[in-house]
Symmetry: C2
Subunit: 253 residues, 2 copies
């Protein structure tokens, strides 16, 4: 497979750096090709602005429209185009980051904000006008694995842990970004209590074994938008996950 | 009250820009003082790095430790210090943004990543070692209101809507950031279907009436960490929200 590895830690000598090194070595040993977007090393600019779209700053900027026009006419800035080319090349994305404030570091959030423009990441419709997203879209057929480190221990990030269930905290990435654009989100690989980790080698080994199933692991069972589970207001039909609310209803159980 | 208004939209002539203008006018009319952090206008740098902490780049960077040392010794970079001073001055924060990929624009995420360093936003303990967070902490006593615009319609962001319940999508901000640092999170003010909005004046009026209750509105009823609801593993005790899982268990219902 072709794998795009995106990483977002300021310190290459960190746990994140070691895991990346091990992970990339494992990909090569498994016979995959990889390309790396090391956002800190690249000096990635995470801030959406008119210059992304060659937009005249004297004119009012409508982000979605301007991005769609620039995408269609090939006027996106070079750094965005380079990342889109990598995504198109890839069969799978590995997105690696330390969890900060229960989400992505800004440099990584801004990779999605800037690269997944309208026409590429969203705003894609069928001929009859139906939106293609949540399992359908331009990135359908690709797989996506989040690799996250977090300081808190596992119990505090479990289904009833004080910080909230980690898979639900990452729902904007797993469901709202990966699945939205058509990619199949794999269960995230999470290193808990990362600051107290006493055996990096053991964790690296676990990561390697997760990478062995990158092409075969069962994705998270999110519902498709156009499979009949949602009504015309995009609300889950009442006979499904009956009586329940919250993010958990969007998984098929 | 002293109000710090933080906004994160690249276009001042946008809906976000109009609402900000109306909101700030309303604050003045209500007799409040305000200060504004217009992140785009400031050219805010959202990327955490060693220079934030005056850290020698030849040495390995531990983000949490380096930030705590720099905070305690007054060596944080000037742009971070200026924002912390505004937060300390404020009785309430208004955090205004367009929802992008079901979260904060990178420039805003990186405001929290950089300003809420260890010792200021987290890592605060009682003398007996108990963590002060989720209702306690350095920012306790302040209020926080999120003002968000989003393209999707309300039904699709409701309790069973296809995108996920918006309050749960914003849990990392409302619970994991505002409440974590001790601030009382107010119910967010959300403009749905923002691209199709045909009456900005009406929306501005709704915002003004929400700002009238900035000092009095009932905050979201999140549970406190140290109030007895969680056990020693920081897991919600079984008799509370019995049998339920997911982010919703952290609200008192």
């Amino acid at each position: 497979m072709n794998v795009l590895w995106i990483s977002a830690h300021p310190e290459p000598r960190s746990l994140n750096g070691s895991l990346r090194e091990e992970g990339l070595r494992a990909l090569t040993e498994l016979g995959h090709e990889y390309r790396l977007s090391d956002l800190y090393a690249m000096g990635w600019n995470p801030v959406v602005g008119p210059e992304d779209y060659g937009h005249d700053p004297a004119e009012r900027l409508h982000v979605a429209d301007a991005s769609a026009e620039a995408y269609e006419s090939g006027r996106l800035s070079d750094d965005i185009l380079a990342e889109q080319e990598k995504v198109e090349w890839a069969d799978a994305l590995v997105v690696q980051f330390p969890v900060w404030w229960y989400g992505l570091p800004a440099i990584l959030k801004g990779w999605f904000d800037r690269v997944f423009v309208k026409g590429f990441g969203y705003g894609i419709t069928r001929e009859d006008g139906v939106a293609l997203r949540y399992g359908e879209g331009k990135l359908a057929g690709k797989r996506a694995l989040a690799v996250a480190t977090i300081g808190a221990r596992a119990s505090a990030l479990g289904p009833r842990g004080v910080h909230g269930d980690l898979t639900e905290l990452l729902f904007p990435l797993l469901h709202g970004t990966f699945w939205y654009t058509g990619m199949a989100p794999l269960p995230p690989f999470v290193v808990y209590a990362a600051d107290c980790l006493d055996d990096v080698e053991c964790t690296a080994k676990e990561l390697r074994s997760r990478l062995e199933t990158l092409g075969t692991a069962e994705p998270l069972p999110f519902r498709t938008q156009n499979g009949g589970d949602y009504d015309e207001d995009l609300v889950l039909r009442p006979h499904l996950a009956r009586g329940r609310t919250g993010l958990g209803v969007h998984w098929v159980s």
